[in-house]
């Protein structure tokens, strides 16, 4: 297959030759490696890459992926990172309107009719910047002679991939992992990897989040080898009986083999101290399902995030261990009782925050240090829940939330408010995804990537369909997908509040944003159908966060009021050197000559952009402390 630039224009083309999404487990060669969380099967490709920037597709270095292409004038760029923050491409911050506002008149493909594909919109866009990335690598010994795939944890917004001059695949969805099987294209010795990143594609219509608009390989890239026998996918269902005493574990394992699927699988459950509690053994098979019960189960919750450890060990027919997969397991019981969400039998109260990934130096390429800092702030201020607004976060964040007992609303990478919210009003005369069949597969794929990757994290209580994307049959299909694949969690979507026709078919909770307390009270007093959550409230822009008492009071009066997520956790602003004083200063939208812009509207955090707390944080600590 050959790469085709017109995929950028087609909402029905969003993944070519990608490995299907699967759980985020990691395989290790030995138990010792598993314990140390260091796998010899993984080879990081982070670091310096060769790079060339082009201002539009017409000026891109065509054929740069060919081994004999002359790349002597390529620059160097650090991966992960945003192209714009490296000095290529203009930085822009904009909220609802699309980043081309005032520059291009656009309607999403097929939004004006099935005969309106809007061809060429992005492939011939004179402002669609392009990054041509090249990385040479030689497989580490542990990866040689094995099946090898490559994982891109985040590439914004559309990417083409080649290895050794051969086309490998194509991916959209900036915030979900894109994985490709490199095995057929690998060669001995040095390999030439090439990635062409386009700032915009039809994915742009789905990724209109209120944030700085960047492009590039902004999360880690790695090669991963699969041993002869490999655990491809793992599904863990860890619940508890109604009495909350017996743990119920159901596992589904999917295996693959380099040659013949043969050997044995040993499955163990250990407690937190490493004592084995249950062991089973099965012959290797494409799919293996097991269930067991655990008496006197130690449940997982915010205050006691107790994690058991599942250990899957794959043996080849000779009995040698070829792969060890550890995975933390948290048993918990999430259920709706009398229209109240309960966790382990207790009414759930969400003391939440919305958290964009943000670092004032690095943009959305946040570091583990940033994440650990954020969790310390959570704990110090009784914050027990996070909404991954409005896209999946770096995978390690989900592990941390499991360990730290932070409830997660795991949100899809979806926001289309520019298509139906104009001049501050609901105006859906054209919108996506709406009921459009041409857009449904793309949004369903995003839902699937989110579910498959993160399905085993006990921290996740809610699957969120996305943010501010109105409501139609495509959102209905997403909701139905989650209910179909995962009966153990609840769905969340606020957009149905804007289009009540779908109220019965979308979202297990009544979710609203910035609803005044008296309006919420009206809902709660009038035969409410669903428990209530504020998916966004207490908009902490600048000097704000007054009046939280009125929301807090609802918690005591209405069991079906279950709290909410403050907007938001951290200001989005960027450190730059002030031309006048030479000192580092924080800059926001419009400070880069970027127009149209929403200027300081990204400064809504409980933390300033440098991660120091705003004064209002003590108010959050007080009120969240009332119901911790």
């Amino acid at each position: 297959m050959k790469a085709d630039l017109r995929w950028l224009d087609d909402p029905q083309t969003f993944r070519i030759n990608q490995v299907p999404a699967h759980s985020d487990h990691r395989g290790y060669a030995t138990l010792a490696e598993a314990t140390a969380h260091h796998s010899r099967f993984v080879q990081s490709l982070d670091g310096q890459w060769a790079f060339q920037f082009a201002r539009d597709p017409q000026h891109r270095p065509v054929g740069f992926y060919q081994p004999d292409y002359d790349r002597t004038d390529f620059d160097r760029l650090t991966v992960p990172g945003h192209i714009e923050l490296a000095g290529y491409g203009q930085i822009q911050y904009i909220n609802t309107a699309y980043p081309w506002e005032g520059k291009h008149y656009r309607r999403p493909a097929y939004s004006r009719g099935a005969d309106q594909p809007e061809q060429g919109m992005f492939s011939t866009d004179p402002e669609n910047t392009v990054g041509a990335y090249v990385k040479r690598f030689t497989l580490a010994p542990a990866l040689q002679d094995k099946r090898v795939s490559i994982e891109f944890d985040g590439v914004e917004q559309a990417m083409f991939l080649w290895l050794n001059g051969q086309f490998v695949g194509y991916a959209e969805d900036s915030f979900s992992r894109s994985e490709f099987d490199l095995t057929p294209y690998l060669q001995p010795g040095e390999n030439l990897l090439a990635v062409e990143v386009f700032k915009h594609s039809t994915a742009a219509f789905l990724e209109d989040q209120d944030m700085f608009r960047f492009s590039g390989i902004f999360r880690s890239v790695r090669l991963v080898a699969k041993p002869a026998l490999h655990l491809e996918d793992l599904t863990i269902r860890a619940g508890a009986d109604a009495a909350l005493t017996t743990g119920q574990l159901a596992l589904t394992l999917r295996l693959s083999a380099a040659n013949k699927l043969a050997g044995a699988v040993q499955i163990s459950l250990l407690d937190a101290s490493g004592q084995p509690l249950w062991t089973a053994e099965r012959d290797a098979a494409a799919t293996i399902q097991l269930t067991t019960e655990l008496p006197h189960v130690h449940l997982w919750s915010h205050h006691d995030p107790y994690l058991y450890r599942l250990q899957v060990t794959l043996h080849n027919p000779a009995g040698e261990c070829v792969e060890v997969v550890p995975y933390p397991v948290g048993f918990r019981r999430l259920e709706m009782k009398d229209k109240v969400i309960t966790l382990n039998g207790q009414r759930l109260i969400i003391n939440g925050v919305n958290r964009h990934e943000w670092d004032a130096h690095r943009g959305r390429a946040v570091t583990l240090t940033d994440m650990k800092h954020d969790l310390r702030i959570f704990h110090a201020n009784h914050i027990n829940a996070v909404r991954t607004c409005h896209y999946p976060d770096q995978p390690i964040w989900y592990d941390l939330c499991d360990r730290e007992g932070i409830y997660m609303m795991a949100e899809n990478n979806l926001e289309t408010h520019g298509t139906w919210q104009k001049m501050g009003a609901v105006e859906p005369s054209y919108n996506v995804p709406d009921d459009l069949p041409q857009w449904q597969l793309a949004v369903l794929d995003r839902a699937k990537s989110n579910y498959e990757m993160f399905k085993n994290h006990p921290a996740i209580l809610f699957w969120s369909l996305g943010n501010e994307s109105y409501a139609g049959e495509d959102l209905v299909a997403m909701d139905a997908y989650y209910h179909h694949v995962d009966p153990t969690r609840l769905t969340h979507y606020e957009g149905v509040f804007q289009n009540r026709v779908y109220a019965d078919r979308i979202s297990d909770v009544e979710s609203r944003m910035y609803n005044p307390p008296r309006e919420i009270e009206k809902y709660l007093q009038n035969a409410p159908a669903k428990p209530f959550l504020d998916c966004e409230y207490m908009h902490d822009m600048g000097n704000s966060l007054g009046g939280m008492a009125s929301y807090d009071a609802l918690l005591d009066r209405y069991p079906m009021y279950q709290g909410g997520f403050i907007w938001d956790f951290i200001d989005q602003a960027l450190w730059v050197k002030d031309d006048v004083t030479g000192r580092p200063v924080l800059r926001y939208g419009g400070d880069f000559d970027d127009r149209h812009s929403d200027y300081e509207f990204s400064g809504d955090g409980l933390l300033f952009a440098d991660r120091t707390p705003k004064p209002a944080l003590q108010e959050v600590r007080y009120y969240y402390g009332q119901h911790d």
Partner: protein, 322 residues
């Protein structure tokens, strides 16, 4: 010869001087307020204190249109002027002792107490007045009372206070009240206690705006080391305290006026800090928080422009423990 218990009064042609062993206050009829407040030889005033009607627009104020609705208070904050002065000595009103009325006094006038009331008229439509009364008692105790006269048709107030601009930058301040930056609708998290703040920090909101408010305060002590007096080489710390008089007050201690904050779009645009702007507030509007594009502050945290507001406080020498 100085009287050690009574106040010495100096009935000048344009001012009234009130002094004692360790203090001297000059009330200026022409400047329309308390022009000089000297304690132990150190001047505490850069210009006469003025009533405060404005706060630098917060993001929520901008979003919900409050600043537009109440814009005339920005003009009032900048351009209110004194239109009347009244003096009472030992509880008795006297004719305003400017020349030639003051010809009947001597250089040895004393009293147990004296009260000077400056009345300010706002350039609002309709106009209204604010009375600021300074009462000095023997020993130098100074009580300040502020009374705002509500008038029908005036928009809601951002704040009502008295701005005391000090000639140099303070080293810091101590206060007894609530931790952190608090507002009427955001003060539950403030822990009661005694706090020291180094310098005059401006909360670094992306766009400079109203900040640094401390609600429910019993006292605040400002510490400075330098004066503008060229003959004063002494850089030992010296202090002034504002204490509640009946009810707690709110205050902010910043290096900027609301107008200076209002002008800046980024922190780095604020001028080099040179002075201390201590504002004592009797009433403060809440900051709100439901959203930043229209939701109003909850009604109980509004400040009506058509009703009276009054507050008072004391200014004492040294630190609060003295």
């Amino acid at each position: 010869m100085a009287n050690t218990t009574n106040l010495n009064l100096t009935f000048g042609d344009v001012t009234l001087g009130v002094s004692g062993a360790r203090f001297r206050y000059i009330f200026a009829y022409d400047r329309g307020g308390l022009e000089s407040l000297v304690r132990d030889g150190k001047e505490w005033l850069y210009r006469t204190p003025v009533p405060v009607f404005w706060r630098a627009t917060t993001d929520n104020d901008r979003g919900n249109g409050f600043s537009q609705r109440s814009a005339m208070w920005l003009g009032a904050d900048l351009f209110t002027h004194c239109t009347h002065v009244a003096v009472a000595v030992d509880g008795q009103a006297i004719p305003l002792p400017i020349a030639p009325e003051n010809n009947r006094y001597t250089d040895h006038e004393t009293a147990e107490k004296v009260a000077i009331t400056f009345t300010y008229t706002t350039p609002t439509v309709p106009a209204t007045t604010v009375d600021i009364t300074y009462e000095v008692i023997a020993g130098g105790g100074l009580t300040v009372a502020v009374h705002y006269h509500g008038a029908a048709g005036l928009p809601e107030l951002p704040a009502l206070g008295l701005r005391i601009v000090m000639p140099t930058l303070a080293q810091g301040f101590d206060y007894q009240g609530l931790s952190g930056e608090t507002y009427p609708d955001r003060m539950a998290g403030g822990q009661p206690g005694t706090y020291h703040v180094a310098g005059l920090p401006v909360t670094p909101y992306l766009v400079p705006q109203e900040c640094g408010m401390h609600m429910a305060t019993d006292w605040v002590t400002v510490t400075r080391e330098r004066t503008l007096n060229n003959a004063d080489p002494n850089h030992q710390a010296f202090q002034l305290t504002v204490r509640e008089h009946g009810t707690p007050f709110a205050f902010s201690a910043l290096p900027y006026t609301p107008a200076e904050l209002e002008n800046a779009t980024h922190q780095e645009e604020l001028p080099a800090p040179r002075r201390t702007v201590l504002t004592i507030y009797g009433a403060v509007r809440g900051v709100g928080g439901i959203d930043s594009w229209g939701a109003d502050v909850e009604p109980q945290y509004h400040l009506a422009g058509d009703t009276d507001h009054s507050f008072q406080f004391e200014i004492v020498a040294g630190d609060a423990q003295v």
